[in-house]
């Protein structure tokens, strides 16, 4: 995959703020897209590039906090709030809902750049976790039914003999299944496999117990 430049979305109804931030962030090396309203931003197609959202709280139709609610499921798009008149309840609400930072205008450029860097790192991490999970799920999907059963019991700490007893197969067969599981899941060690199972479990419980 080619290295993708992170993208910073700026939503602010004030032209001075939009224009100055666009230039600052571009000069800092990011791609920048600006919008004067939340609605305009929502109309923009989703990307899988790492990035973040610099969001003004008071906006004409849909305000910043309301937009944050709509973006609840988008972990890969951290939000840095900027506001012309922040109050404590407003910032608490924003931070509780997962905002990276809450800056009051006029803010220091470094404070914003640091916040954006942090947000983009978070975005990159979220995206790579997503990719990792996707790959893990693909590998898990390639396991046979018997292999999944063996894996579930092994990572639960059962000995090969106990697994064989539980599934009504010989210990040798258990060993063979276990080797294939390790290979298909690309697990370097048994500990690795236990971690993978833990990662899969929250979203894949239904599938592992089938």
């Amino acid at each position: 995959m080619p290295p993708r430049t992170p993208i910073v979305f700026v939503v602010d109804d004030d032209i001075s703020v939009r224009e100055s931030l666009e230039l600052l962030l571009r000069t800092a090396g990011w791609r920048v897209e600006t919008f004067s309203s939340a609605t305009d931003f929502l109309a923009y197609p989703r990307t899988s590039v790492p990035g973040c959202l610099v969001l003004d709280v008071s906006l004409p139709d849909l305000n910043g906090l309301e937009l944050q609610q709509r973006l609840e499921d988008r972990r890969e798009l951290p939000i840095v709030f900027i506001t012309g008149h922040g109050d404590i309840p407003m910032s608490v609400r924003a931070m509780k809902a997962g905002a990276t930072e809450f800056l009051t205008k006029p803010f220091k450029a470094d404070a914003l750049l640091d916040a954006i860097r942090g947000a983009i790192a978070g975005s990159t991490a979220a995206l790579s976790r997503e990719t990792e999970l996707k790959n893990l799920r693909a590998s898990y999907a390639a396991l046979s039914r018997r292999e999944r059963e063996v894996m579930a019991l092994v990572v639960a700490g059962k000995l090969n003999k106990q697994v064989g007893g539980a599934l009504g197969i010989t210990e040798v067969t258990v060993k063979a299944h276990r080797g294939r599981v390790m290979r298909k899941m690309k697990a370097g060690s048994f500990a690795d496999l236990v971690k993978m199972a833990a990662t899969l479990r929250p979203s894949g419980d239904a599938r592992t117990t089938v």
């Binding site: 703020v17 100055s20 230039l23 000069t27 800092a28 008149h85 205008k105 006029p106 220091k108 450029a109």
Partner: protein
């Protein structure tokens, strides 16, 4: 005189004596002797004829209903006092009857008299030893009853022709004396009234004979000018008191009075020797005097106190308006911070970018230059916001200038944008394209607009079932006026509250002080305009004001002297 009534026919001597007596009385009248003195002398003269008569004069009081004491030098006080105060009618007694009927009443023998029984007048007279009474009304030349002249005897008696002749003569003299005295009293009373009225109302009167340049001043005029009433008034003397700034106006008025006459109504000022200033309201009218010469007659009213209290009220109003502005300033803090912080955020970001560009290798000079330009633009924008705020919230005197209501309203909307956005209010301006400017105090008018917009916004803060929409309209209004209307879709107000909503400290808002609308109305009224509110047919209310395009300051009335109320030259 002693022989007058003793002879049966008048002799030459009698007639001469009579003439001399009449002459003496007329001299007393013209010499200004008091009425009581003259009437008493008259009675004494008649009594001195020696035929045993007693005389009295009773007067009819100003209301014409009761008898008053005139003169009765020889009759007992108990007799007179029982007559005085009796009603003027035919039953009270002979004098009251004569005055009522305007006819002579002769009672030759009181012992057999049957009239006036209701008041038991005859027994009372008989008790005082009087046996007969002849009463004759005293009439003015116009026929008005002044009183009655009576002769009493201590024996039954009827008048002879000579008696009648004398009675006629004396009632005539009495009538002149009484009428003159009453006129004098009326004149003195009227003069006293006038002087008192002038003193109470601080109004002096004057006349100016244009041909001779002679001035006449009333006592109050002297007092207002603080000049000794013994000093004759001259134009030079007046000029020493008129405020130097008003001298030219005084000359204008005098020139115009000489040239075309007419009526004058103007204000002027005096500068007293001790440096105090007096404000005068002068109303004058040019006329032809008794000798046919042109005269300017008028009044001078000292309106200094009124003017001072007007100034004090004006100052209080201005202070209250300032309090109201500062109160709204507090409420607007968040909005203002927003307005200023936007460009500041831009400035800091631009300056940071500029540094990044200059620090790059190689430095991005063009980019840095452009960024610096943007920094300046945003800086100016912040400065504009501050200038607008300072203009709106400073405490300054009324300044009348040409104001574009569209522009004024736009600035207020810009200032309130943050707050309106936070309240999710949609502002729809519907401004008339070619709106004529108004002569007004920009800050005060903007304060009114600010008040109306904030009220409208707050009225919609709990509205969720329809859009929070506010329409601001400007339009030319009838009568050379311009109107601004603010229509909201909020809670509206109860029509029954009526004009109460414009009263000081009346509020329907939990956090309101109740001064916004009242201050707004007083501002608009000072612009000679009108501010009103009506509930909408649908949700919400509409508030509007209408102000004339030209401003007439209440203090600038001096110019009025040019405007004759009624000028002879205007007449066909």
């Amino acid at each position: 005189m002693t022989a007058v009534l003793q002879g049966q026919s008048p002799t030459r001597e009698n007639l001469l004596a009579l003439l001399a007596a009449e002459k003496r009385f007329l001299e007393m009248v013209t010499a200004g002797k008091s009425m009581a003195e003259i009437l008493a002398a008259l009675c004494q003269l008649v009594e001195s004829t020696g035929d045993g008569c007693y005389c009295s004069v009773v007067l009819v009081d100003p209301s014409g209903t009761r008898l008053e004491h005139g003169a009765a030098p020889s009759l007992p006080a108990s007799f007179i006092s029982s007559i005085i105060g009796r009603p003027v009618n035919v039953d009270s007694g002979p004098c009251a009857m004569a005055a009522t009927l305007k006819e002579q009443v002769i009672a030759p023998d009181l012992a057999s008299e049957t009239r006036w029984t209701e008041y038991a007048w005859c027994p009372m007279a008989l008790a005082h030893g009087l046996q007969s009474c002849w009463s004759t009304p005293i009439l003015t030349s116009a026929g008005k009853v002044l009183g009655a002249f009576a002769l009493y005897y201590d024996q039954p008696r009827a008048p002879t022709a000579l008696h009648q002749n004398l009675i006629e003569q004396f009632t005539h003299i009495a009538s002149i004396a009484i009428e003159r005295a009453q006129n004098d009293t009326a004149l003195r009373r009227s003069e006293a009234f006038l002087a008192e009225a002038q003193r109470l109302s601080s109004t002096g009167s004057f006349s100016w004979n244009m041909a001779t340049d002679r001035f006449m001043w009333s006592a109050e005029a002297y007092r207002i000018y603080e000049i000794d009433p013994a000093v004759p008034v001259t134009l030079d003397l007046i000029a020493t008191r008129v405020h130097p700034d008003n001298l030219a106006n005084l000359r204008d008025v005098m020139d115009r009075a000489r040239r075309e006459g007419g009526d004058f109504d103007y204000e002027s000022r005096l500068l007293m020797p001790d440096g105090t200033v007096k404000y005068l309201h002068v109303v004058a009218h040019s006329a032809h005097g008794q000798d046919g010469e042109r005269e300017l007659i008028g009044t001078i009213q000292d309106v200094t106190e009124r003017r001072r209290s007007e100034e004090a009220v004006g100052k209080l109003r201005a202070e209250l308006a300032h309090v109201a502005r500062v109160t709204s300033l507090g409420a607007l803090t968040a909005s203002i911070a927003h307005e200023v912080n936007q460009p500041l955020a831009g400035i800091i970001a631009n300056a940071s970018t500029c540094l990044l560009m200059l620090g790059a290798d190689p430095p991005n000079i063009d980019g840095a230059r452009e960024t610096a330009r943007r920094t300046i633009r945003d800086g100016n924008r912040a400065a504009d916001v501050i200038t607008r705020l300072r203009a709106l919230f400073s405490n300054r005197d009324t300044t009348i200038e040409s104001v574009d209501l569209n522009e004024a309203a736009r600035e207020v909307i810009a200032l309130l944008l943050g707050e309106l956005q936070r309240n999710q209010v949609i502002v729809r301006p519907e401004f008339a394209d070619d709106l004529p400017p108004v002569a007004a105090d920009r800050v005060q008018v903007q304060q009114v607009i600010l008040n109306l917009l904030r009220n409208a916004s707050e009225a919609m803060s709990n509205v969720d079932d329809h859009p929070r929409e506010m329409v601001i309209r400007t339009a030319p209004d009838e009568g050379d006026r311009v109107r601004l209307t603010v229509e909201d879709a909020g809670v509206g107000f109860d029509q029954r509250a009526g004009d109460k909503i414009f009263e000081m400290f009346y509020t329907t808002k939990s956090g309101g002080m109740g001064i916004g609308l009242s201050v707004s109305r007083s501002i608009i009224e000072r612009h000679h305009g009108r501010l009103w509110g009506t509930p909408n047919d649908g949700p919400g209310a509409t508030f509007a004001f209408s102000i004339p395009r030209t401003f007439r300051s209440p203090a600038a009335t001096f110019e009025r002297y040019q405007r004759p109320i009624e000028s002879r030259s205007d007449q066909p």
